[in-house]
């Protein structure tokens, strides 16, 4: 628990300078927000004292939008406009939803390609927009509690989320007006909350069974660094499946004829959930389906639930075994096992874990809150409130990245469990004389066939100079940043021509989609929101101007006088634009200046690295004996 006490005497940040940061657990069934207050990490409650915000959004009449408990009350009455478990739709296509048998839950038009859309009375909505409602609800809660706007947030995602799902999460945060410091994986956040990063060196396994996703991670702590060694999971496996199995069991017990209406289906699922939760405390629970419109009452025992759940639990143990093997560690070396997620409250889950590891798992923190707590701690550190804390998280790529090759096969470029950030290059050539364009299909997954992997994006490389077949050399660079997000760049290397890359994420949103959504959200929102966007853009611009001016005063020697003049002019240009009320212009100019100063930043960084390396070789030598 060492981490809970986060400020030590003498190193506390001046409270007036403390930045407001929060960690958000954007969960399938519920979401939470946590922040460090008076040196304590805590989840923040709403006005009614509730910490858990049900991840439910209701789109009502007159543009009314309800989130959380209020939305849940509309569920049975207005199921098609009440969106549950939107996390399961993030970065997913219609076919994925169909394969899971979830199409019946909502009105999902079949003419949408790319990310799935849900038709509500307020129009067609993407999961990104729906998730943004949950995020802004939590953001508001934090701002009211902390007394001001948030400087940054850390949002957790399942370790096993692919690129499309991560990108969708980031987009949702942007839409909600939150500055994302980092996406971190849920198991890692949980390990942080337990303070396992500050304890002895050793291995930690985090088993996270949530409402909709299962995740398992093997982490190693050494020299103040928390390294993810391997991660595994299934993004479509969780407590919701138990609810579904139980609801189907109800139907099998009764003799309901014909199609089940969406209302009845929803009501049965809610009752199934209640029964499941109750069976964690009791060995038998009586059930009356009268309110659900079915003439049946009886009893469900824990044994029945266990029988319905055993396949699911076996599958999680199999994935856990495989992940430990992928990490190349011995089961005996595991020092701690952490349980996360409401579904781990089911006694059969902790029993199965204890049997597998031969040790009792850690359960002292509330499994519903532990992820948000860890994210809040990480946010506090990243935003700069703990300058002396050296703790660092090193994450891995959860799923291999590859390219489609001839014959519908996938060639892996970066394999899973590679530490990130990472960059890999691949060279291609033309196969026809005079070919000027090339289509590249990026895939994510472990299987060999394109049809078994997820399509992330298609890129068209254009502007290849016409040459004989095989003469052009096109170098494509794949980069995965610390959040696990992919970007791609390409270049024709024999002539030095930069090929343009057109990115069209398969299940994500294009830049245009995002811009139009942002615009729409600004138009709909009150003038407060636009004023806030302007203020934020100005703060960013000011910060960049100040930083650059200071750097220029200090290190002008790293630049030629022309370079210095150019940069100073660009700084002035931004300073001019900054006084105007044009958010887009300020953002554009800020971005331009930021890019223009890349080279300068790089040179400063090179110098720092050189200094650090000199110091570090000495350290490495002196600590050797």
């Amino acid at each position: 628990m060492a981490l809970i006490q986060i400020t030590e005497p003498g190193q506390a940040v001046d409270p007036h300078q403390r930045k407001r940061a929060a960690g958000i657990d954007l969960g399938t069934t519920h979401s939470l927000i946590a922040s460090v207050r008076q040196g304590q990490i805590q989840t923040l409650p709403d006005e009614a004292g509730r910490h858990l915000l049900p991840s439910i959004v209701h789109y009502g009449l007159d543009d009314q939008i309800l989130v959380g408990d209020a939305a849940r009350e509309c569920a049975s009455r207005d199921p098609l406009n009440t969106i549950f478990s939107v996390k399961r739709l993030m970065g997913r296509g219609r076919a994925d939803i169909e394969a899971r048998g979830q199409l019946a839950d909502y009105d999902i038009p079949d003419n949408t390609d790319g990310m799935v859309q849900v038709r509500t009375r307020q129009g067609l909505l993407t999961p990104v927009e729906i998730s943004a409602q949950i995020l802004s609800c939590l953001g508001q809660r934090a701002e009211e509690t902390l007394g001001g706007s948030l400087d940054g947030v850390v949002i957790t995602v399942p370790a096993y989320f692919d690129d499309g799902q991560r990108q969708a999460t980031r987009d949702a945060a942007e839409l909600a007006g939150l500055k994302v410091l980092r996406l971190i994986s849920e198991p890692t956040a949980a390990a942080l909350a337990y303070g396992l990063d500050s304890g002895d060196e050793g291995l930690v396994v985090v088993y996270d069974l949530g409402g909709g996703t299962f995740d398992v991670s093997v982490l190693r702590m050494r020299m103040g660094v928390f390294e993810v060694l391997a991660t595994g999971g299934n993004t479509s496996l969780g407590g919701d499946d138990v609810d579904l199995a139980l609801a189907n069991h109800f139907l099998a017990l009764t003799d309901v004829q014909g199609a089940v209406s969406a209302e009845m289906r929803r009501a049965l699922l809610i009752e199934a959930r209640r029964v499941k939760e109750s069976l964690s405390q009791h060995t038998r629970v009586s059930v009356d389906l009268q309110p659900q419109g079915i003439d049946w009452s009886g009893e469900i025992t824990r044994e029945t639930l266990e029988a319905l759940t055993s396949k699911l639990i076996d599958e999680t143990i199999r994935i856990t075994r495989k992940t430990i093997r992928d990490a190349d560690v011995d089961l005996d070396d595991v020092a701690n096992v952490v349980l996360v997620g409401g579904s781990t409250r089911m006694p059969m889950v902790s029993e199965a874990i204890e049997k597998f590891f031969g040790r009792a798992p850690l359960t002292t923190l509330d499994p519903d809150r532990v992820v948000a707590l860890g994210a809040g701690l990480q946010a506090d550190q990243l935003v700069g409130n703990k300058p002396d804390d050296e703790m660092l998280l090193l994450d891995v790529l959860p799923l291999s990245l590859g390219l489609e090759t001839m014959g519908g096969l996938v060639e892996k470029i970066i394999s899973r469990n590679t530490p990130i950030p990472v960059q890999r290059a691949q060279e291609f050539t033309t196969y026809k004389d005079g070919q000027t364009a090339m289509l590249i299909h990026v895939m994510q997954g472990e299987r060999e066939l394109v049809s078994d992997c997820r399509s992330l994006a298609q890129f068209v490389l254009r502007g290849i100079p016409p040459m004989v077949a095989g003469a052009a050399k096109i170098r494509v660079d794949f980069r995965v940043d610390a959040d696990g997000l992919l970007s791609v760049a390409a270049e024709e290397t024999s002539t030095g021509t930069r090929a343009q890359v057109e990115v069209k994420p398969a299940y994500g949103l294009s830049d245009e989609d995002m811009i139009s959504m942002l615009r729409a959200s600004v138009e709909h929102a009150s003038s407060d929101a636009s004023a806030r966007m302007l203020a934020e853009a100005r703060v960013d611009a000011r910060r960049l101007i100040d930083a650059l001016e200071a750097a220029l005063d200090e290190d002008a020697s790293l630049l030629s006088s022309e370079e210095t003049d150019e940069l100073r002019q660009a700084v002035e240009a931004l300073a001019m634009v900054e006084t105007r009320d044009d958010v887009q212009a300020i953002k554009r100019q800020t971005k331009m200046l930021s890019e223009a100063s890349d080279e300068f930043a790089a040179r400063r960084m090179n110098r720092e690295i050189r200094k650090a390396l000199q110091g570090q070789s000495v350290d490495a030598l002196s600590s050797e004996s």
Binding site: R182, P421, D598, A620
Partner: protein
């Protein structure tokens, strides 16, 4: 200057100075036998300093530069940690690159054939103990070959080192295949 070190990414077009090789990046002598503990310590120390999270509250361009460095540290760590990739990297620094279809000595080809056949037989027999034994044998072969490789590097016998690398490549590939087979059998 090595081919690897000269690689400039089309991403940034920036002037990050990647001219030093991975050995000097990690403060190690440029040789095959390395102090793995020192490598681990240097890796952690470098990431602690240059991981983009260290720059999370700072400007975008600083984070970009840090990301580039962090990528390079990860790349160097991966190249140096594994014996085979370290040998290939060291050879490339010395100006020797691997051929795509090298001419290999007859006895080595015989050994390849025999080991391949042995694994195929095990696969058909579906005997887990036999697979275990095979893996143990392979492990010894890899250790022997690595020791030989180390000797060649020390003696400055680059051509012999290269042959040894080809042998090691084959053995490691076979090790992967036997592991995959085990995964299948264990339903992992």
């Amino acid at each position: 200057m090595s081919a690897v070190a000269e690689r400039v990414s089309p991403f940034s077009g920036s002037a990050l100075d990647f001219s030093q090789d991975f050995f000097s990046l990690f403060g190690l002598k440029r040789q095959f036998s390395i102090d793995t503990q020192a490598l681990e310590r240097a890796y952690i120390a470098l990431q602690k300093q240059f991981h983009p999270d260290r720059f999370a509250a700072m400007q975008e361009h600083e984070r970009r530069a840090a990301t580039q460095w962090s990528i390079r540290v990860n790349e160097g760590y991966r190249e140096l940690r594994d014996d085979l990739s370290r040998a290939i990297y060291l050879l490339s620094l010395l100006g020797t690159s691997l051929e795509e279809n090298p001419v290999l000595p007859g006895d080595f080809l015989m050994m390849q054939l025999e080991l391949r056949e042995a694994l195929e037989e095990i696969e058909q027999s579906e005997a887990l103990p036999a697979l275990d034994q095979f893996k143990q044998q392979l492990k010894r072969n890899i250790a022997d070959q690595t020791a030989r490789l180390s000797g060649f590097f020390e003696a400055g016998q680059r051509d012999e080192a290269l042959k040894s690398v080809y042998a090691l490549q084959f053995l490691k590939k076979l090790e992967q295949d036997s592991r995959r087979l085990e995964d299948q059998w264990l339903d992992l």
